[in-house]
C-alpha cells in the first residue's frame, strides 16, 4: 500500500496552529489566572498562590473530591469487568440468540443524551425502591450503578478493538493443545489485552469522576460529588478557586496521560521482543 504522503504546506501549518490554539488557549488562560491575586478572575493584579490554599480549606470541595475519586475507582473497576466480558462476547462468541440487541445495548449508552440516561435510571431506582424496598436511599450506591452502566460501553469499544487486532492463532493453538476456555482466557487472552483494559479503566475512571448530569439525577441528599460542587459554584459566577482546581486537574491528567502512554509504549515493545525471542527459540 502506498504510504501516507507527508504534506508540508502553509495551509497545513496554519490549520495546526489555529486548531491547537483554539483547543489550548482557554486552558492556558485558566492556569495563568489561577495564580492571580485578585478575586476578579480576568484582571491581573499580581502573582499569588492563595487560591490553592483556599481550595484545600474548602471542606465541601474536599469531601466532593474524596467521594468522586472513590466512586470513580469502584465504577471503573466494575465497568472493566462488564466491558471486557461484553467485548469478549462480541468478538469471540459471535453468534447467539439476541446477539443484535446485545451489540445495540453495549453501544447505545455512548450516544444517549445524559439527561435521558439520568432520568431513566432515577425512575428505575424509584420504582425499585417502591417494589422491593431497595435502594432505601439514593447516594453513592446508585451513582455507582449509573456510572458503571454508561462507562462499560466505552470500555467495551476499547477492549473490543484490541481483541479484534489480536492474533487468534495463539488462542487456537492453546485450545488445540487441550487448554480449557477459562485457561486460554486467563493465560493467553487477558495478558495480551491488559493494556487495553488499563486504558479502559482510566477512561471509565475519568468519565465517572467528570460526570455531572447523570449523577445529579441519581444522587441523594448525602452524596455531593465534585462536579456537583463545582457546578453550583460556577452557576454563581467565576471564582479563582475553580481556576486553581482546574489547574490541578489538568496537571494530574497530563502527568497520568504521559505515564500511561509511556507505559503502554514500553509494554508493546516488551511484548514484541518476547515474541521475537520465542520465534527464535522455536
Amino acid at each position: 500500500m502506498t504510504p501516507i504522503p507527508q504534506v508540508k504546506s502553509k495551509f497545513r501549518t496554519f490549520v495546526l496552529l489555529a486548531g491547537f490554539a483554539f483547543l489550548y488557549v482557554p486552558i492556558l488562560l485558566l492556569i495563568v489566572y489561577s495564580f492571580n491575586e485578585s478575586r476578579l478572575v480576568t484582571v491581573w493584579s499580581g502573582f499569588s498562590i492563595k487560591w490553592y490554599g483556599e481550595l484545600f480549606a474548602d471542606t465541601l470541595m474536599m469531601n466532593g473530591v474524596t467521594l468522586s475519586l472513590s466512586i470513580g475507582v469502584m465504577s471503573a473497576s466494575m465497568a472493566v469487568v462488564i466491558g471486557t466480558l461484553a467485548a469478549f462476547v462480541l468478538t469471540r462468541i459471535g453468534n447467539f440468540r439476541g446477539q443484535t440487541s446485545f451489540a445495540f445495548l453495549m453501544t447505545a449508552p455512548m450516544v444517549m443524551p445524559e439527561v435521558i440516561t439520568g432520568l431513566a435510571l432515577l425512575l428505575l431506582f424509584v420504582a425499585m425502591s417502591n417494589m422491593f424496598g431497595w435502594p432505601t436511599q439514593r447516594g453513592a450506591m446508585t451513582i455507582w450503578i449509573a456510572h458503571v452502566t454508561f462507562t462499560a460501553a466505552y470500555v467495551t469499544v476499547i477492549v473490543r478493538s484490541r481483541l479484534q487486532e489480536l492474533d487468534r492463532s495463539i488462542e487456537e493453538a492453546a485450545q488445540d493443545l487441550g487448554a480449557t476456555p477459562l485457561k486460554v482466557f486467563f493465560l493467553i487472552t487477558l495478558p495480551s489485552i491488559a493494556p487495553a483494559i488499563a486504558a479502559g479503566w482510566l477512561l471509565g475512571f475519568t468519565l465517572s469522576v467528570d460526570d455531572l448530569v447523570i449523577t445529579s439525577f441519581v444522587s441523594g441528599p448525602n452524596a455531593t460529588t465534585l462536579p456537583m460542587v463545582v457546578f453550583s459554584s460556577v452557576r454563581l459566577g467565576v471564582s479563582p478557586k475553580i481556576n486553581a482546581l482546574a489547574t490541578l486537574i489538568i496537571l494530574v491528567v497530563s502527568i497520568a496521560t504521559f505515564i500511561g502512554w509511556w507505559m503502554m509504549a514500553a509494554a508493546e515493545k516488551r511484548r514484541k521482543a518476547e515474541i521475537a525471542v520465542a520465534m527464535q527459540n522455536s
Binding site: M1, T2, I4, P5, Q6, V7, V15, L16, G19, F20, F22, L23, Y24, P26, L29, L30, T42, V43, I82, L85, F88, I93, F96, G98, F102, A103, M106, T107, A108, P109, V111, M112, P113, E114, V115, I116, T117, L119, A120, L121, L123, L124, A146, T149, A152, Q164, T206, L212, S216, P227, V230, F231, V234, R235, V238, A246, I249, V253, S254, T257
Partner: protein, 314 residues
C-alpha cells in the same frame, strides 16, 4: 474450521466434569447482558410508562397506570402530557432550537475538525502520535471546567472585551456571554475531539495509491480531494457527526452556563421540568419525544459501528 471446533467442544462436554462448558459460555454472555437489560433497557420502559401517568403530590410524584378497585381493573393511559407538549409552543420551540443548534455546531465541528484531522494524518509518524494525544488530552480533563473556561473569556469584563477595549476597537463591552453564539462556541470546543478522532481513523485507513493515481493522471488537489478523499472518508464523517450531534441535542451544561435565558434547549427544559417543577410525567414525555427524534441518528451510528467491526474482524 468452525465445524471442527464445535465438534471438539461437543466431545469435550461429554467428558466427566466438563459439563460446565456451555454454562460457562452462557454466564459470560449473561453478566453484561443482564446488567445492561436491568440498568439500561428497563429504565426506558419505565420512562415510557411514567410519561402516561399524571402528576400528583405524593412520593413518588406520579399516579399508577394500573389500579384495581371495586372488582374493576383500571388501566389509565393519560395522553395529557403529550398533548401539553403539543399545546405549549415553548416545547416545540425548544425541540426545533435544539436541532438547529446541534446541526450548526456539528457543521462547525466538521469544518474545523476535518482540516485538523487531515493535517495531523499528513505529518510524520512520530508527530502524528504526539498531535493526536494533544487532541485527546483536553477531553480527559473536566468537561465542566472546559466550559467554565469560556465564561472568563466571554463575559463583559472578560478577556476578549478587555483586549478589544485596550486596542480601542470598542468603547462599550460587547455582550458575548449568555448568547447563542456562546453556546455554539462551547459545543464546538467541547465536542471537537469526537469529530477529529473518527475522521483521523478513516484518513489513516484510506488507500493512498488512489490519490497518487489521480494526481498522476493530472487531477488538481482539490478535485482529488472532492472525488477521492472525501467519499472514502464518509464513514468517519458520519461517525464524528453523530458523536457531536446526538449529545448536542440533549446538552444541558453548555446552554445553562453559556446560554441566555432564551436559549432553552430541550435538555435544559427536561432538567427544569424535573428539578424545578418536579413534574416527572412531563419530564418523561419530553424525554420520550427527544428519544424518538434521536432514534434515526442513534441507529445510524450503531450501523456504522457494526460495519466498522465487521471490516476490522475479517
Amino acid at each position: 474450521m468452525r465445524g471442527t471446533d464445535n465438534m471438539n467442544l461437543d466431545t469435550l462436554r461429554q467428558l466427566p466434569l466438563m459439563g460446565w462448558l456451555p454454562r460457562g459460555r452462557h454466564l459470560v454472555i449473561a453478566i453484561p447482558y443482564v446488567w445492561m437489560l436491568l440498568f439500561f433497557l428497563i429504565p426506558f420502559a419505565i420512562i415510557l410508562k411514567i410519561s402516561f401517568a399524571e402528576v400528583q403530590i405524593a412520593i413518588p410524584p406520579y399516579t399508577d397506570l394500573v389500579s384495581y378497585a371495586e372488582e374493576k381493573l383500571n388501566v389509565v393511559f393519560n395522553l395529557g402530557n403529550y398533548l401539553y407538549l403539543l399545546d405549549d409552543e415553548m416545547y416545540l420551540d425548544s425541540y426545533l432550537q435544539s436541532i438547529q443548534v446541534a446541526t450548526i455546531s456539528t457543521l462547525l465541528c466538521l469544518l474545523i475538525g476535518y482540516p485538523m484531522a487531515w493535517a495531523i494524518v499528513h505529518s510524520s509518524p512520530a508527530m502524528r502520535i504526539a498531535l493526536l494525544m494533544l487532541v485527546v488530552l483536553p477531553s480527559w480533563t473536566s468537561f465542566l471546567i472546559r466550559v467554565y473556561a469560556w465564561i472568563g473569556i466571554l463575559k463583559n469584563n472578560g478577556l476578549i472585551n478587555n483586549f478589544l477595549m485596550w486596542l480601542g476597537v470598542i468603547d462599550e463591552p460587547l455582550t458575548l456571554l449568555h448568547t447563542n453564539a456562546a453556546v455554539y462556541i462551547g459545543i464546538v470546543y467541547a465536542y471537537l475531539p469526537f469529530m477529529i478522532l473518527p475522521i483521523y481513523t478513516a484518513l489513516m485507513r484510506m488507500d493512498y495509491s488512489l490519490v497518487e493515481a489521480a494526481s498522476d493522471l493530472g487531477a488538481r488537489p482539490y478535485r482529488t480531494f472532492l472525488s477521492i478523499t472525501l467519499p472514502l472518508t464518509k464513514s468517519g464523517i458520519i461517525a464524528g457527526s453523530m458523536l457531536v450531534f446526538i449529545p448536542a441535542v440533549g446538552e444541558f451544561v453548555i446552554p445553562e452556563l453559556l446560554g441566555g435565558p432564551d436559549s432553552l434547549l430541550i435538555g435544559r427544559v427536561l432538567w427544569q421540568e424535573f428539578f424545578n417543577n418536579r413534574d416527572w410525567p412531563v419530564a418523561s414525555a419530553v424525554a420520550v419525544v427527544m428519544l424518538i427524534i434521536l432514534m434515526v441518528p442513534i441507529i445510524w451510528f450503531y450501523r456504522y459501528q457494526r460495519r466498522e467491526m465487521q471490516e476490522n474482524g475479517s
